[in-house]
């Protein structure tokens, strides 16, 4: 699922597009999780993911603002400032961290159950686009 996502983001032609695609994925993560664990729950998971990946990607320190109602503006801005490869890798790492933290708390089976539609949607979108 992460590889699929990674390839989906890498398939974008420029960093701006990559940042847009990343934020769209995060928005769907928000839609999938916030009804179940609440906005505060998703914000906490997102911030923890950012914190964990800061050692590898120090520029993530600038992603400080909690996303209000599923808006990931500061993430979008920071991704668009990076090289495409770095931005794609960092975003994939963030998503991986989020799934991992959630999995540690509620188990991998339930985590997959909640996030699978997101991975499927974004994986499929890429495949469709690459087929064109």
């Amino acid at each position: 699922m992460k590889e699929t996502h990674l390839s989906s983001v890498q398939a974008q032609t420029d960093t701006e597009q990559l940042a847009d695609a990343a934020v769209a994925t995060w928005h769907d993560v928000w839609i999938a999780l916030s009804p179940v664990i609440g906005a505060a729950g998703v914000v906490a998971l997102f911030q923890r993911s950012v914190f964990l990946r800061m050692a590898e990607y120090p520029w993530l320190a600038n992603v400080i603002d909690p996303p209000p109602a599923g808006q990931f503006n500061s993430l979008r801005r920071e991704l668009s400032l990076q090289k495409r490869v770095d931005a794609a890798a960092a975003n994939a790492a963030l998503l991986q961290s989020l799934a991992q933290i959630l999995g540690n708390l509620i188990g991998s089976s339930l985590t997959t159950r909640l996030l699978q539609p997101v991975w499927e949607k974004h994986g499929r979108t890429t495949q469709d686009k690459s087929a064109q």
């Binding site: 009804p35 179940v36 664990i37 505060a40 729950g41 509620i106 339930l110 159950r113 909640l114």
Partner: protein, 493 residues
């Protein structure tokens, strides 16, 4: 003329709970599930939800400030009933935390209404309902008051045909809330601590439209979820003994003393002092059953059950002809033991049951149940009689000469038959003596018979002349049988 509204009763999937509710959960009812923190409210709600929800008629589980959804999901999935595959298919968790935090009860109601319209659930849970109310009160900005909120919620969910559970921490029945009068059902969970034991109890304070089982019912929570121990139902009087087949006791001579054996379905109390051979008699009873291709169940309440059971019973258990009730905890209720016994009887198709001993049984009970021991025991014996089994119970009895007592619990009257064992001094030896004291609606011997125990079990001795004063523990042998009425008689009533 319209027919009466038919109330469907849903099977909750919680063992014993439907019986306590009076046949299941009334469909479309608006219920309050109350109790202090840790009493099992959330677990009971989840267990019912996973049992009842289907993709067509799904369940919505609203969490509020009272319950962190991540923590709730983390811990609830440890239970066997939690099925991750049902999440977002037949079961949906919806967090109301943000709406609740804002403090406007009106907006919480709007959010619930929106989700209910979106998913048309058959079941709705709000956990915790009370924190919605407290948040509203704290913020003081509610657009609707508590009473309106409850009323509107009730109307909304009934009109959408949703069976609803509001879950809340309430300290006790003294705690008053308008919800108590609005709710169709009021289920109270309690946790009581007495001495070193904690016992969980449930009470159906109210359930409109059906007769519930009154009183407090014990329940236990393990990895399977809740198990409620519904009280056993009193049965009608047993059939007359002469029409019943007789079970053999496995002790030569004893069946004759009992008028041909123990009538099937009877309960027998074997009372006697420590070491007099009660457990050996019980073992013979089970072994004789096994010889006749019958199965049995034993509930042995001893400190070290494996050593105390003896080789005969141990072999029967090992070969699967006798089932064992696990009685190691000291927090049991009589209803729980009855439920375990009946389950084991049904599993094995057992016809003989041994409870060894009542004294140990009482010690195994949580202190809070000991006061009701006699009533509960009567109920249990009756329930066992309903299953058609024949029950042998032993009772430890101090030897009190000049006094004819059979049971320290006044349980003697509960049983259909009684065998008494005693020690007597004869020729400078401590001998054992046994008599059939009671055999309801049946002829039996009135002899006091000496017996001994060897490697093969109990052997009833040949009569060694006539004695008097056996009951006093110091018998005298009669030289002539013409002096008065003989104390030992071969007559049968």
């Amino acid at each position: 003329m319209m027919n009466k509204a038919k109330i469907n009763r849903l099977a909750t999937g919680v063992p014993g709970f439907d019986a306590v509710l009076g046949g299941g959960l009334p469909e479309f009812s608006f219920n309050l599930l109350a109790g202090p923190p840790g009493s099992g409210k959330t677990t009971l709600a989840h267990q019912m939800m996973f049992a009842l929800a289907t993709p067509e008629r799904c369940a919505l589980y609203f969490t509020t400030l009272g319950e962190s959804p991540l923590k709730m999901l983390r811990y609830q999935q440890q239970f066997a009933f939690f099925d991750s595959d049902q999440v977002n298919r037949s079961v949906r968790f919806i967090s109301l935390g943000d709406d609740t935090a804002a403090g406007d009860v009106g907006s919480v109601l709007g959010r619930i209404a929106g989700e209910v319209k979106k998913y048309t659930p058959a079941l709705v849970f709000i956990d915790s309902f009370r924190s919605v109310i407290l948040a509203g009160e704290g913020a003081g900005i509610s657009s609707v008051n508590l009473q309106q909120f409850i009323l509107q919620l009730g109307i909304l969910l009934a009109s959408w045909n949703a069976t609803t559970f509001l879950i809340g921490e309430y300290a006790g029945a003294g705690d008053s809330s308008p919800i108590f009068s609005v709710a169709d059902g009021l289920i109270w969970l309690r946790q009581t601590t007495q001495r070193n034991s904690i016992v969980r109890k449930m009470e159906i304070v109210k359930m409109r439209g059906q007769a519930t089982l009154p009183g407090l019912h014990t329940f236990r929570i393990d990895m399977e979820g809740l198990k409620v121990f519904a009280p056993t139902v009193l049965s009608a009087a047993p059939a007359p003994a002469h029409s019943l087949p007789r079970l053999q006791m496995g002790i030569p001579g004893l069946d004759q003393m009992m008028g041909g054996g123990l009538p099937r379905g009877y309960s027998l109390l074997v009372a006697g002092p420590s070491g007099s051979g009660k457990s050996i008699l019980a073992a013979s009873f089970l072994a004789e059953g096994a010889r006749a291709a019958e199965t049995g169940v034993i509930a042995a309440f001893e400190q070290r059950p494996h050593q105390a059971r003896g080789p005969v019973v141990a072999d029967l258990i090992a070969s699967g002809r006798v089932g064992v009730i696990d009685t190691r905890t000291s927090t049991l209720s009589v209803d729980e033991i009855a439920t375990l016994l009946i389950a084991e009887i049904e599993r094995l198709g057992a016809s003989r049951v041994v409870i060894d001993s009542l004294s140990g049984f009482e010690l195994a009970l949580a202190p809070t149940f000991r006061e009701d021991f006699r009533e509960s025991l009567a109920r249990m014996l009756s329930a066992l009689a309903n299953t058609g089994v024949t029950v042998l119970m032993t009772s430890e009895l101090e030897d009190r000469y000049y006094e004819l007592g059979f049971s320290p619990y006044g349980t003697a009257f509960l049983t259909d038959s009684i065998i008494m064992q005693r020690y007597v001094e004869i020729d400078s030896r401590l001998e054992r003596m046994m008599a059939v004291v009671k055999m309801r609606a049946s002829r039996h011997s009135n002899q006091l018979r000496l017996f001994h125990i060897d490697d093969e079990g109990i052997k009833i001795d040949e009569q060694r002349g006539a004695y008097s004063g056996l009951l006093a523990g110091a018998p005298r042998r009669h030289r002539s049988r013409r002096v008065g009425r003989p104390a030992v008689s071969t007559d049968e009533r």
